[in-house]
Amino acid sequence: MQCERCHQAKATVHITDTVPEKTERHLCENCAESEGVIVKHHHPTTNEVLQQFLKHKAATSGADDITCPKCAMTFNDFQLKGQLGCPHDYTVFREFLLPLIERAHEGQVRHIGKVPKTAAATVHRQTDLVRLRRELREAVAGENYEQAAQVRDQIRMLEDA
């Protein structure tokens, strides 16, 4: 079925009005949006999130004076370049970077993926625990109790170790 407004695209939005009398309308997504029938969500890309953050100085007031002792980068430099100066910047600017990191990564601020073999045993354990606790929450929420019990046992083993 064609859109009754532009007569070009396929009608995918179908509206039935019952008041004052029963009428039907068939619109394509674009026409439905321009008539205000539907609202399209626009998810900003990670790059857009970054650009917004870099331009929006107010959110990071107080960070201007901080300079990394290792690479001499200031937070202002980061906002101009969009890239950090050295790994230590993540420690120096952490509190100002976390809101950006959170927005760029669907609200997450904790790594649960691969840990280098050479990292300390405690880092491996902590990362595993964070991951398993999240798995436990998800299993309970999904009512997969058998799986939840298994994950819980794994967590206990790690906590006792």
Binding site: H43, N47, Q83, L84, A104, H105, E106, R110, V123
Partner: protein, 350 residues
Amino acid sequence: MNLDDLTRSTGEWLRGEGPLSDVVVSSRIRLARNLAERPFLTTASESDQTEIYRCLANDVTAASDDDAMFVDLNEADPVDRDFLVERNLISRQHASGSGSRGVSISARETRSLMINEEDHLRIQGLRSGFQLETIWEEVNRADDAISDSLSFAFDSQLGYLTACPTNVGTGIRVSVMLHLPGLRLTKEIERVARAARDMHLAVRGLQGEGTEAVGDLYQLSNQTTLGKTEAEIIDAFSTSIIPRIVEYERAARDTLAKKQPVRLDDKIWRAYGLLSNARRIASGETHTLLSPLRMGIFMGRFSKFDVKRWNELFLFTQPAHLQKVHGVSMGERERAIARADYLRDRLGDD
């Protein structure tokens, strides 16, 4: 092995084989890594950059197979650098960068290790068709081998640290290149692209960031790199995203074949007519015309040549490949003529 050896083949990612290859052209995984205790390239001095390069070049060579090839990009000819971009072995940014930088390429071009791109090291695995699991195994193994003798910047909360905070955590970028002519012809492509963006994926053209989708080739990649395991990120592609898009594209092709067979065949054969008769032709037009032929091959509506030949045509008509094969540097006009000559030679009745 040297660069000229590569001009005799199409490279792994364009073999045209592998699972779902009617729609999935190739799959790729990249890991971003940086050396601990060294500045990122943003603030690295020339000597810092050279030091990082030396350190990684040694280590990367030691961790690579004997038949791997190492290219010093700072020394390399610009055409050679573009040639590597066209083969997806380095990024456009890596090619146009400055200072000490290089790449190690495995014999079958399935793996490339880029030194001093945006991060100190980018470990890339690339294969034809849909093969993310195989690639992850290879990339993960390479990461382990390289980190045996040096340590990467890693934070217990934020994971692997990268120059740009948007890559922090796993540092993983999974990209799948899709050929979606059916969805474009049925005008559903925007809807699919929007759905992909809603799933926090980036949708781009052939050569990554900021490039247009030429020849109906779209690259889908993850944007979130933190708070998920590598396996979860890969799994989302393998179990839901890609199979669904493949299904949509196949359905679109079926619809076209059923409802508009003449329009479809006209697209295919008209494109073939132009490609095999043109006297000069630009790279963009070539790729636009090649697109319906690839679809025609997989739909059984075009049998003048197979997908292997298609891949050859696709790759060798790109600017740097044309110049590599001819062994001379050519301007845009000369290339357009050389490209048309190449196409007529390859497409002429055997």
